[in-house]
């Protein structure tokens, strides 16, 4: 191990997306993270595809595994008496607790912040939820897919002549996890300085809106209500996704974004000064916006006769252009490979499997994927004895009374 968060102890009592991803950041900079789970309410991601070789199983989902790499796994049913004893030890042990239940659930489990703080006065607890711990919609429960709609992203995805679309999946989760990790790290700074813990209330909707701040301010300045516009942009033209020659029986697309007049000049030059681009009115953004339909048709005609690689090779490095990658394209992208984003780790059930890695490189203290995700309860013995200090006979008792759980296949 070894990292800037060495010695930080995290109880990850969360599930699904934001909470586990937040804890994963901490794990990969050196924190010891114990992820608790129960077979009574299995993390929905363990039951969600893609599964290794397409075969479902609690320990076969890479959707789950990726979000829980580098953590220790403890299977415990927190609603049993034994589970409550384990929870008390975890609370005393941890610097940080992360939970992601619908507001009120932790209180009902007897694990609300006030109860935990009575055990550990300087505890930091992160509660991440859809709409926050207070307010009329505090009880709003659900998945991130609907939060993309509530947070404005569905209105902004798709075509102006059609119903709203959506970014793929639980889009706002991947805004929330970044702010959640920032909040926890900031709270650790505060605690290092003052000794004081705190209960962080994070609403995923409130983090999501940070990414629409320009549109929300624009509405106040100009009255404009932003909506979906295909791939067009009010500050750039041409700006779109264009068809290329199919490859391997699959359609291929290229993204081209002319974000300044100099890039328009560079585009014309790269294309060999075609007649369709000669109109001097095209030298300005407003001129290009007026003729955008025509420009898009002409550009599509040019790209359609070429491969993605030919188009990008012709336009870069002067004109912003790049392949529209599918999941296989991400695996073969030379830049992604150069950055070492996919990092294989051996998993007891799934075998050697790549894990998504660092989005940032730190020159002295790099982000480390230290192990594959735990099987459900894989590290029970080690966590209960070495970390939490239970004696061997106490562990046997916890197992016998069904408080501790394990699924190893």
């Amino acid at each position: 191990m070894g990292g800037p968060l060495d010695g930080v102890k995290v109880w990850d009592a969360s599930w699904v997306g934001v909470g586990p991803l937040t804890a994963r950041y901490l794990a990969e900079y050196g924190a010891t993270v114990v992820r608790t789970e129960s077979t009574r309410s299995v993390d929905v991601l363990r039951k969600a595809p893609p599964f290794k070789d397409g075969v479902p199983g609690l320990n076969r989902s890479q959707f789950f595994a990726d979000y829980n790499a580098s953590k220790l796994g403890l299977g415990v049913n927190l609603s049993t008496d034994g589970g409550r004893r384990v929870a008390a030890r975890l609370t005393a042990w941890a610097d940080v607790v992360i939970e992601a239940f619908t507001p009120g659930v932790m209180d009902r489990l007897g694990l609300g912040y006030d109860r935990l703080r009575a055990v550990n006065p300087s505890l930091i607890m992160l509660s991440t939820s859809m709409n926050g711990q207070t307010g009329p919609r505090r009880g709003f429960a659900g998945f991130g897919t609907v939060l993309a709609a509530m947070s404005g992203f569905c209105e902004l995805t798709g075509w102006p002549d059609r119903d709203p679309g959506s970014p793929y999946g639980a889009y706002t989760d991947f805004i929330g996890q970044r702010f959640a990790a920032v909040a926890v790290l900031a709270a650790l700074e505060h605690r290092d300085r003052t000794g004081e813990g705190q209960h962080i209330d994070l609403s995923q909707m409130e983090t999501g809106l940070m990414f629409l701040a320009p549109e929300l301010v624009d509405h106040q300045l100009t009255g404009h209500v932003a909506t979906r516009d295909g791939n067009r942009d009010r500050a750039a033209a041409p700006h779109g996704v264009f068809p290329c020659l199919p490859e391997g029986g699959r359609e291929r697309w290229v993204a081209i974004a002319v974000t300044g007049d100099d890039q328009w000049t560079a585009l014309r030059r790269a294309l060999g000064e075609p007649a369709w681009a000669a109109d001097p009115r095209l030298a300005t953004l407003s001129g290009r916006k007026e003729q955008e339909d025509r420009l898009e048709r002409a550009l599509a005609a040019w790209t359609s006769a070429r491969t993605v690689a030919e188009v990008v090779g012709t336009l870069q490095p002067e004109v912003p252009a790049g392949p529209v990658h599918d999941a296989r394209g991400l695996q073969s992208d030379p830049q992604v490979a150069h950055r070492g984003y996919f990092r294989p780790q051996p998993h007891p059930v799934m075998g050697m499997t790549p894990y998504e890695g660092a989005q940032a490189e730190l020159s002295l203290t790099p982000y480390r994927v230290t192990k594959a995700a735990p099987l459900l309860g894989e590290d029970n013995e080690r966590v209960l004895t070495e970390l939490l200090g239970f004696a061997a006979d106490e562990v046997a008792g916890l197992v016998a009374e069904g408080a501790v759980e394990q699924v190893l296949d």
């Binding site: 290794k52 990726d66 805004i175 920032v182 942009d233 953004l285 030379p334 830049q335």
Partner: protein, 403 residues
């Protein structure tokens, strides 16, 4: 109470792509100072087609509130020495130049750490500072495409689409703060700063959830599919029109079909064909599989009812029934949202309301001050009091156009 990062000093050299990073650090109590060209960053102004001259770029107040501003023309001789004066007293420098501008001016990480070994330099760029695409030109759409976030979106009969508002540099800018805080912690403990090199392309891949691992687990690749309609594994449509727009309703959640049937009954919209289903049938997990006509029967009735209600009313009524219905909100809806209002979410930037309180840290609350500094508003304080220039020196640099 003060912010969690009180005392942290940040120099913000970013372009619009990463203004958010400094905004988040300032929210947490850091002292963040924009370093702009004399006369101000041209990106303070709205450069979209049709914008009248002089109008503010809406992203400026949103992401630069709470920062100080000094001016410095980094291209002028002598500017390097002046910048190093600032860097000596800083903890963090953030930049997002498209090319290797800082390095080219002799202000790369090695040069900065020579004057201040604990300094953390943060770069937020499309592809990162190393690798075959490091010199490529990019834009939000290109980052979205190369990070896989375009392929999965849109209707099959048209090209795939991005989100119609720049997103992926914001992912990188928010991501940068996570790693910056890690590096700051390391520097505080060891006295050694480092270079934090963020890739927007990789931050984009991180948003793709279970669409990423397909090729190395079950061989699957996620392609775009029309949104809201029923599909494989998803028997119920979930996008519906309503009186003032659209809502999303996820039928298989919480009380499920029985909850929706009860709702339709209470509102007087239950068709006889649905009334014939008893609680046992409605509660069966195999309902849609055993009775393939049921999903269309239920969602057809819901579609009729939803058209009579607003987004806000449908969301409220569904919440009371523990059903998952969400409004497809516009920015206008969001500014009026009752939950955000109840939580006093919006902050001020001058006379504008901007998002917002992105996390509640009761022991170290986010800064509420919403000042938007003019270009060079803090020149006197910073250059004279902090960097130690004499009045004569400051005057000379101003006269030469460096400050």
């Amino acid at each position: 109470m003060s912010g969690a990062l009180a005392g942290l000093r940040v120099l913000d050299l970013t372009t619009e792509r990463a203004w958010l990073s400094g905004r988040v650090l300032a929210d947490l109590g850091a002292q963040v100072t924009l370093v702009e060209p004399p006369g101000g960053d041209p990106a303070r102004l709205d450069r979209r087609a049709g914008a009248p001259p002089g109008r503010t770029n809406p992203a400026w107040p949103a992401f630069n509130r709470g920062k100080r501003s000094v001016t410095l023309d980094l291209a002028r001789p002598g500017a390097r020495e002046l910048f190093l004066r600032l860097a000596r007293a800083a903890d963090v420098v953030i930049e997002s130049y498209e090319r290797e501008t800082l390095h080219g001016r002799g202000l790369g990480h090695a040069a900065l750490s020579a004057v201040n070994p604990r300094l953390v330099l943060v770069s937020v760029t499309p592809f990162g500072r190393t690798g075959p695409y490091a010199g490529h030109a990019a834009a939000d759409l290109v980052v979205a495409a190369t990070g896989g976030a375009v392929w999965t979106n849109g209707d099959p009969d048209r090209p795939p689409v991005r989100i119609s508002s720049g997103q992926y540099f914001l992912h990188a800018a928010a991501e940068a703060v996570v790693h910056t805080l890690v590096a700051v912690r390391h520097a505080r403990r060891t006295g050694r700063g480092q270079h934090v090199d963020v890739s927007a392309q990789l931050a984009t891949i991180r948003t793709l959830m279970n669409a990423v691992p397909g090729p190395y687990t079950d061989g699957s690749v996620v392609d775009r599919a029309s949104f809201g309609a029923p599909g494989p594994g998803q028997p119920y449509r979930h996008l519906f029109g309503c009186r003032d727009g659209h809502v999303l309703a996820t039928v298989p959640f919480g009380p499920g079909p029985a909850g929706y049937v009860g709702w339709l009954r209470d509102e007087g919209f239950l068709p006889p064909a649905l009334a014939a289903y008893d609680a046992g049938r409605l509660g069966s997990p195999a309902l849609a599989a055993d009775d393939p006509s049921f999903p269309e029967l239920l969602t057809g009735a819901l579609a009729g009812y939803f058209l009579t209600e607003t987004k806000v009313e449908l969301t409220r009524k569904a919440l009371a029934r523990r059903l998952m219905v969400a409004p497809v909100n516009t920015v206008a809806d969001l500014m009026a949202d009752e939950q955000l209002a109840a939580r006093d979410y919006f902050l001020t930037a001058g006379d504008l309301r901007v998002p917002g309180v992105w996390a509640r840290l009761p022991a170290s609350p986010l800064a509420s001050a919403g000042h938007v500094a003019g270009p060079g508003a803090d020149n006197e304080t910073v250059w004279r009091d902090e960097a130690g220039l004499s009045a004569e020196e400051l005057s000379r640099h101003r006269g030469e156009g460096t400050i």
